[in-house]
Symmetry: C2
Subunit: 271 residues, 2 copies
């Protein structure tokens, strides 16, 4: 393993690109290999067993590409599969839940924390678990927001329809007097402005993508794995379906231009 | 094969239940085995190859259950996989596209027909193909409506948000002076009232679910396969994930109570 080896990042689709963006910003010398499982999205409505199977396949794919570390840039896969699959690999593997939960538990002043995410993430109770580990006195209120992902993928990021849905979903949490809200799905940071309008100026919004990139940086330094070479980084994007659509979306999110994406048949890969 | 054998019906999820409802209504003596591929939905954004693979697996599952006929109650699978997979089985197999297209081509007076459906169905151009076969003079205008399925699954069937999205999606088609609109996704008949408000009273709405049940009846009669026994029918519902959620949805749509649904791991089935 050389320090110039890439970091593997994966998600069910395009959402994980918000994590890639933070990694590019906080770790500008690192190369990234991204896998978006667009053929099998969404993950948020699927069962734990299914998500573990998918995660194992993708981790095997990334390992074969020689990554030095893996970031599970999907809250559902972090909730359902990370603990199981990380014991099966010999490189650092982190998810987005723990870094986000830690910051939220430290940030709250009145102890009332809201979490928004997919049905899978919310019903798993994973955020409650990690939040209580850091701060046993917090009250956690979760709300699944199933329309947010399709609204983002339709490009309706600051649309009145999205604002209306945000008011309905998040209104319930505001009634519990939350002072901190975790954006518990990697698509949601793209709705940041709309969510800010809904919650007002005083609620702290926690973006696990940002916290995850920060954690990754610490881990790479701790393990002596950060890239110190001045050679140019090289980012590669793989998807299991719809490479062209993915490329357009990636170019609207990332600070660098994504010139090419590659289709991979993840179910038939025998690595 | 006995005439009392069940009819196999499948869809990517709950949408195909609108076809089941019509079959129960028009063929009240027939038993039904339904498969909803809830672990791998949605189909509408996936590639042709992926949909053919999934369809083959489900058809094998239904054949093993002894069905006498198969209805592909999913527009995307009808568009992408029916022509290929029907040649591989020795029982009648029909989809929802052809019956819907035929009625629309016959119903239009000014020759301008609108089709709404998933991205997969619309980009496949399958409705244009079948419409032109019946009536070469029609002009066909397609519009993908990616938010309609998640809106239905959130239960927002007559919600102002859904009405707003319907106005945006269908407004484009109305500008082409359509007099006929095909509800080209099995979820959409559940939005019938909202769509009616959007198009006004004069546009003819074509529900392929109704036309498909009618075609199925004709085929069973032509093949001498209709059930004439007076024994009670028996309906069974299988899903690849989330049986309990499916059961609740089914009970809100179907005229009979769905007491039990069964989980099936479709990817690991070796039939």
């Amino acid at each position: 393993m050389t320090n110039s080896a890439p970091i593997g990042v994966f998600d069910s689709g395009v959402g994980g690109l918000t994590v890639v963006k933070e990694i590019m910003h906080q770790l500008p010398r690192e190369s990234i290999i991204y896998f978006g499982d667009t053929a099998r999205l969404p993950y948020g409505t699927k069962s734990k067993e299914t998500i573990i199977t998918y995660t194992r396949q993708i981790v095997r794919f990334l390992m074969a590409k020689g990554v030095k570390s893996i970031v599970v840039a999907c809250n559902t896969a972090s909730a359902f599969a990370l603990e199981t699959v990380k014991t099966e690999v010999n490189i650092p593997m982190i998810g987005v839940v723990k870094p986000g939960a830690k910051v939220a538990a430290e940030a709250t002043r009145n102890g009332n924390i809201g979490i928004i995410g997919t049905e899978g993430t919310i019903s798993s109770g994973i955020y409650n678990e990690f939040l209580s580990l850091t701060n046993p006195n917090v009250q956690v209120y979760g709300k699944a927001c199933p329309l947010f992902v399709p609204l983002v993928e339709e490009g309706l990021i600051e649309d009145p329809v999205t604002l209306e849905m945000a008011r309905r979903y998040i209104g319930e949490l505001l009634a519990h007097n939350i002072d901190t809200l975790v954006l518990g799905c990697t698509h949601y940071p793209l709705l940041r402005r709309t969510i800010r309008k809904t919650v007002g100026g005083t609620v702290r919004l926690v973006n696990p993508a940002y916290e995850t990139a920060k954690s990754l940086k610490e881990i790479l330094i701790d393990c002596g794995l950060e890239n110190e070479s001045l050679l140019q980084m090289d980012h590669t994007f793989y998807v299991s379906d719809g490479a062209e659509k993915f490329r357009r979306f990636a170019n609207s999110i990332l600070p660098c231009e994504v010139i090419e994406t590659k289709d991979v048949n993840i179910e038939e890969l025998m690595i």
